[in-house]
Subunit: 204 residues, 2 copies
DNA sequence: GATTTCATATGATGATTATCATATGAAAGA
DNA sequence: TCTTTCATATGATAATCATCATATGAAATC
């Protein structure tokens, strides 16, 4: 048995795998799935292309792993803030997500806007991972929301996610800075409207 | 000069070009830009690959043309309805857009959800066409909306577009029918909230 | 009718890519 | 120390793709 201290063969293989997944998570978000080859990913991970198939069955398996690994900012975007009312909290989340910094750094951002259409056309495995990650985001957000008259907390969360994902994606696809910022701002403002209008407070 | 009646050489070339653009508009929406080769598009147009460069400089020029050609349903989705109030009209638009039929037929649907990320990474020409088409949609919608306290009519339109595009795209990327339908329904319901709460009608 | 033009077809070309086969070299086990 | 194992490197392979070069055949012009 090896001295438990240093890196065992198993540990180093795991470290390689982690590096591959991290490189893929970044490159796929930046360039799309078709825009980053297996050799590109391996090279970005500091390895050569041949070893790839010792870690994954095929590229699609890497897509699924990279997608799961790319959702690591969720806790930062959707952070409970019991001090805020619902509308303020949604506005706060939207501001953290729908901004120029996030727009300009897709490689370190949310994987849903750059990858959703690719995933929609990909295999069922990737779609299952996508759904699981989206659901986790929705549940985390719903935990801070109240049920409304038409939309329960989970529905509100799904709708706000759709708005945020759509707004960010469109802000990246237009050419002018002015329209791009307008999309971000308008989407931020609509997000807060998902909070119930609270007729009870007014109509009592 | 040829008898003006039949198809001149010029007219037949134009017809070929139209067929290429129509085939590209469908295939790009169905498979993504990278998923449809020039040869695929030409074959779908009933031609062979070689003639392509007599019509377009390169594939990117075709992307721009196909994108402009793929927005032909806008008038159906965003149809003025002076008989409805703002919230009802937005709900009506969202219902026409965010439904299972549209979700399951991307080849004949809105080009924004399937193509936005590809366009974001593509050349500036395609992004300019994307922006022009998005702007036309926003202006058509804004013409039926009122300015609100935070969001003017154009902003409301951009936000509703972001929500619709995001909701449709996510509904295609998840695996289960239940979550997919939930995304469509929740997004439809939030769309109507873009209408001003009309404090004037209540608070007067 | 002869000749020219040109839209399209046929047939390269060179680059890229996913995937597989085999070599290597260092650590693990004996 | 010697042998085995195995993670990774090097080096194919076969397919796909955008793009280019040339051939063809029918319409347009003379």
């Amino acid at each position: 048995m090896a001295a438990a201290g240093a890196t065992s063969r198993q540990e180093r293989k795991q470290a390689s795998r982690d590096a591959i997944v991290a490189a893929a998570a970044r490159l796929f978000r930046e360039r799309g799935i078709g825009g980053a080859s297996v050799a590109d990913v391996m090279s970005a991970a500091g390895l050569t292309h041949g070893g790839f198939y010792g870690h994954f069955d095929d590229k699609e398996a890497l897509v699924a792993a990279a997608l799961a690994a790319a959702t690591n900012h969720r806790e930062r975007w959707i952070e409970p803030r019991p001090d805020m009312d619902e509308a303020a909290w949604l506005a706060w989340i939207a501001r953290r997500y729908l901004n120029v910094r996030h727009r300009d750094d897709p490689g370190d951002g949310c994987p849903f806007p750059p990858l959703a259409p690719d995933i929609a056309r990909d295999g069922a495995d990737a779609r299952r991972v996508f759904e699981a990650e989206l659901r986790k985001s929705a549940e985390r957000m719903a935990a801070g929301l109240d049920d409304g008259t038409e939309l329960d907390a989970r529905d509100k969360a799904y709708a706000v996610l759709a708005l945020c994902v759509g707004g960010l994606m469109l802000s990246r696809a237009v050419e002018s800075e002015a329209v791009s910022r307008r999309l971000l701002r308008a989407s931020r403002l609509l997000a807060a409207r998902a909070a119930e209008a609270k007729p009870s407070a007014r109509d009592t």
